[in-house]
């Protein structure tokens, strides 16, 4: 279901309107994605929360020695299927080869430790579970030791553990063969341990004793993902299940006026054709019949209030808005005065983008007396649960959510309106059989919830003698993700942080004595959403490109220029310096190649890239990316490297290719032939260097995306002298 259209008229749009309807009565006030971790730290989030997690909600030890970890978060590729069990086993000391993993159901026990919902997003999983999952391991180990000690009639302090066993060494010297030596496996102790009261507190190992955290560890989900056994949402099959596809309105906010179901009903295998709030549903024995039925439908659409949408016009209107002052998101000094004489100016822009996860959106619903079950790959379990409950007239706890593997998420499956889940609930309501609703790729590309289009207008002044920046003004014109959503409470002082993060808090910008970051948040009628790295996906491109422009204007080496700007951010500088050193910055690149660099902090982590590019037949080719990352304590270096490689590929596809356009209210692109993402032959060689750090963990899933576009654009400038200020990058 598309977000309700609000009134059009870009020029008159009041920004950050928050009065729109809130679906399902759900209002959640939690803090901003980028600021989440900082917020949690500022609140003095204790190393040991006062209440220990109920270990049996997160961990089951079987008499067969299996160790099953339940995930409060969704595995969508980012590797938490492995990371969270590692945290458990740091304390549990079980046999790693016995670990199994499941997604937890939607339930209060699995709420995010920082926010009042169960969700996966904002690159928060590892840091937010760093204590809870270790505590689960520690509590369980204590219970197993207590059970063994009780059974053996010894003090718990005489016992230790090793690789899935509780041990007591006998004799005065504690040798294993001496009289009194005991050994019992976790599996054999599990039943007795489960009857013991959970301890009131446990001590976690000091970092010096860590054996698991920091150890490169291969993924636990590989066996099922290389054999076709892994169950994604699309793979769910239930007895008697129908498959439905939905004919969606071709315009945002469009509605069905009337439709003729006859031709669709005539398709062999089609069982039902009926209207739902988001369009017309065709339910059939299998996907192919449902899709053929949809193709045969004749629908008269009321195009709604956004039938004239045109991305070229939106961009032009944003450019005009950038000429006037917006709401201040950051301000210091006297920018007007400092910019009075001949400032450097530039305008940057980025397009709407679809997330395009490889698994098209889908959701399966089975209704039964007094409840229902939902199978889907979601990032938003309790949000979806509440919405389904409202639609079906149930209490939330009557809606059982089964989280499957997610075939990619990137934010699309943390939908503010639970669009694909809500739609499936409506379809299920119209049927007396279980139903799987499947989106086609065209539904996905044209279905809205995009990374917002953005235009940035920049002005800066340099000290004429020293060449250092004296003033920086940045006006951002884009759309608010949070306005009118259940997360409106995250908007502070009229500023949606997802629009300005990475600019208003940039270490470069805030180090300049006179600076001002302003926002115009404009509702275009296009539903927008968080897209991997959210606001940082455009602010990093703009800030790092314009800093590069300033460096060249000052006739300074780009690295040295940044060093001076980052004096008060030594951690950021060190990451940039590491990437530069590893890339051989300062030595000449191979003939015909150019190098560019960028560094950006987001989601509590800092990532720097040096990109090496060439231009072949007018096309930008990225050969090599040297990466440095400081994500604080790195639980699984192998996984962090994978996420940085992933961030490069995701961001590079957007930098080189991806763009959604609209004409006459319709999205022009439809599938991977015209909405291009990165291909294997375009993947650069990526070297990842992870900083050894004892700082609190940051995120890994998103921070790798923001700095790749500016690193590449800066390299293109170094090579060609062309400053490319619009994504995707196009050489003149």
């Amino acid at each position: 279901m598309r977000r309700d259209a609000r009134s059009a008229g870009l020029s008159r749009r009041a920004f950050l309107k928050t009065g729109a309807a809130v679906g399902g009565g759900l209002v959640v006030g939690f803090f901003v994605p980028a600021g989440m971790r900082r917020f949690a730290l500022a609140q003095g989030a204790p190393a040991q929360p006062p209440v220990l997690p109920a270990a049996n909600a997160f961990l089951r030890i079987g008499s067969d020695e299996s160790v099953t970890v339940l995930l409060a978060h969704s595995e969508m590729g980012q590797g938490i299927w492995t990371t969270l069990p590692m945290l458990v086993n740091e304390e549990l000391d079980a046999d790693w080869s016995r670990f199994r993993v499941e997604h937890a159901p939607a339930a209060p026990a699995y709420r995010h430790t920082a926010f009042p919902i169960q969700m996966t997003g904002g690159s928060t999983t590892t840091w937010s579970e760093f204590d809870r999952y270790r505590q689960v391991g520690a509590v369980t180990r204590a219970l197993l030791i207590a059970a063994a000690a009780k059974q053996w009639g010894v003090a718990p302090g005489e016992c230790r553990t090793a690789n899935g066993y509780v041990l007591r060494e006998g004799g005065a010297r504690g040798t294993p063969d001496a009289p009194g030596a005991r050994r019992a496996s976790y599996g054999s102790l599990a039943a007795a341990a489960a009857k013991l009261p959970q301890p009131a507190s446990v001590a976690l190992k000091p970092p010096a004793d860590w054996k698991v955290i920091g150890k490169p560890t291969r993924r636990l989900d590989t066996p099922e993902k290389i054999t076709g056994r892994a169950v994604f949402g699309l793979d769910v099959r239930l007895p008697g299940m129908l498959t439905a596809v939905i004919a969606h309105a071709p315009t945002f906010g469009g509605k069905v006026k009337r439709f003729d179901p006859a031709a669709a009903r005539a398709v062999s295998g089609v069982r039902a054709v009926f209207e739902v709030p988001s369009g017309v549903a065709v339910a059939a024995d299998h996907f192919w019949a449902a899709k053929c039925g949809r193709d045969a439908l004749r629908i008269d659409w009321d195009p709604g209030p956004h039938a004239d949408l045109d991305t070229a016009e939106i961009r032009e209107s944003f450019r005009r808005r950038a000429g006037s002052a917006g709401m201040p998101a950051a301000a210091a000094g006297d920018v007007e005065r400092a910019l009075a004489a001949a400032p450097l100016t530039a305008e940057y822009s980025v397009p709407f983008l679809a997330h395009a996860p490889m698994e098209p959106l889908n959701c399966t619903v089975r209704r039964a007396a007094g409840g229902c079950e939902v199978w889907t790959g979601t990032q938003f379990q309790t949000v979806d649960q509440q919405r389904v409950a409202t639609i079906l007239g149930l209490a939330p706890d009557q809606v059982e959510i089964h989280t499957t593997f997610l075939g990619g998420g990137f934010g699309r499956r943390a939908n503010l309106a639970s669009d694909f889940v809500v739609e499936a609930a409506h379809v299920a309501k119209g049927l007396d059989r279980p139903v799987k609703v499947v989106w086609t790729r065209e539904d996905d590309i044209r279905g809205g919830w995009y990374r917002p289009l953005a235009v940035h207008r920049l002005e800066a002044a340099l000290d004429p003698v020293a060449g250092t920046p004296l003033a920086w003004r940045q006006r951002i014109v884009t759309s608010s993700i949070l306005a009118g959503s259940p997360f409106t409470a995250m908007i502070k002082d009229g500023i949606d942080p997802t629009c300005v993060e990475g600019a208003s808090d940039s270490p470069y910008v805030t180090a300049i004595p006179n600076h001002r970051v302003e926002l115009h948040a404009v509702d275009t009628g296009v539903p927008v959403l968080w897209w991997r790295s959210v606001g940082n996906s455009h602010t990093a491109f703009v800030v790092e490109s314009f800093v590069d422009e300033l460096a060249h204007a000052a006739k300074r080496d780009p690295l040295e220029f940044r060093r001076a700007m980052l004096v008060k951010s030594p951690r950021v500088w060190e990451v940039l310096e590491l990437a530069a050193a590893k890339a051989g910055w300062g030595s000449p690149p191979p003939p015909g190649h150019g190098r560019g660099l960028a560094v950006h902090e987001s989601f509590g982590s800092i990532v720097a890239y040096v990109a090496e590019v060439s231009v072949e037949a007018g096309q930008i080719r990225v050969h090599r990316v040297t990466a440095a990352v400081d994500c604080g304590i790195c639980v699984n270096p192998l996984g962090v490297s994978a996420q940085i490689e992933s961030g490069v590929a995701f961001g590079l596809g957007a930098a080189l290719h991806s763009e959604l356009t609209m004409k006459e209210g319709r999205v022009v692109e439809s599938n991977f032939h015209d909405y291009r993402i990165l291909r294997l032959d375009e993947m650069p060689h990526v070297d990842v260097h992870v900083v050894r750090s004892r700082e609190k963990s940051g995120g890994a899933g998103e921070p790798g995306t923001p700095p790749i576009a500016p690193a590449v654009a800066n390299a293109v400038f170094a090579l060609t002298g062309q400053r490319l200020r619009r994504l995707p990058l196009r050489l003149a």
């Binding site: 169950v231 062999s268 053929c292 593997f405 961030g647």
Partner: protein, 182 residues
């Protein structure tokens, strides 16, 4: 229409619409959900299967075109998930979300059957039509090279291409798939 399909060495009689792509027969009729739907127009490679050892985009070709030919899906590539490509994928820790990997693995298996020692250019040429939104491409390249080594070290008699007759048809009853991981 009625069709005889041989999938992973097992014969199936199915009754499906004439134009129904092989992908949906595999997934929705035979319950072999390892083959994935990504685009429906041969643009992403998620639906790749092998037909007589050659990679085919099953989302755009009607199943009827494959009657009597040997279709291999990810479920039938090896009996125990130990094809050299699968072993290399494990060693190199390739997968992320995993959704595209059935297609990637089958494309790689076909490449190695045709070119036992592929160069980077060979890999680019053979596999650039298999999209991965997680961007596992660098590890895919490394894993294909590793798989070539593993394949070369197999005893000469061991098959490097899938052996349809030996591959047990996987049990994918609807109820099992539904409760699967959830």
């Amino acid at each position: 229409m009625n069709l005889k399909l041989t999938v992973n060495g097992r014969a199936h009689d199915v009754s499906v619409p004439d134009d129904m792509p092989l992908l949906w027969v595999l997934r929705d009729v035979l319950g072999l959900t390892g083959t994935k739907f990504g685009c429906g127009m041969a643009q992403c490679g998620a639906c790749t299967v092998l037909v007589d050892g050659n990679p085919v985009r099953s989302c755009v070709r009607p199943a009827a075109a494959f009657a009597g030919r040997a279709v291999t899906t990810i479920e039938g590539l090896s009996a125990h998930g130990d094809h050299p490509v699968q072993r290399a994928w494990t060693e190199v820790d390739v997968v992320q979300c995993g959704y595209c990997q059935s297609g990637q693995i089958l494309a790689a298996a076909a490449l190695l059957a045709a070119k036992p020692r592929p160069t980077d250019d060979d890999i680019d040429a053979a596999m650039s039509g298999n999209l991965c939104r997680c961007g596992t491409y660098q590890r895919i390249r490394a894993a294909v090279h590793r798989a070539a080594q593993l394949q070369a070290s197999l005893p000469p008699s061991a098959p490097s291409a899938p052996a349809p007759a030996a591959a047990a048809a996987p049990a994918t009853p609807a109820a099992l798939a539904a409760t699967g991981r959830s």
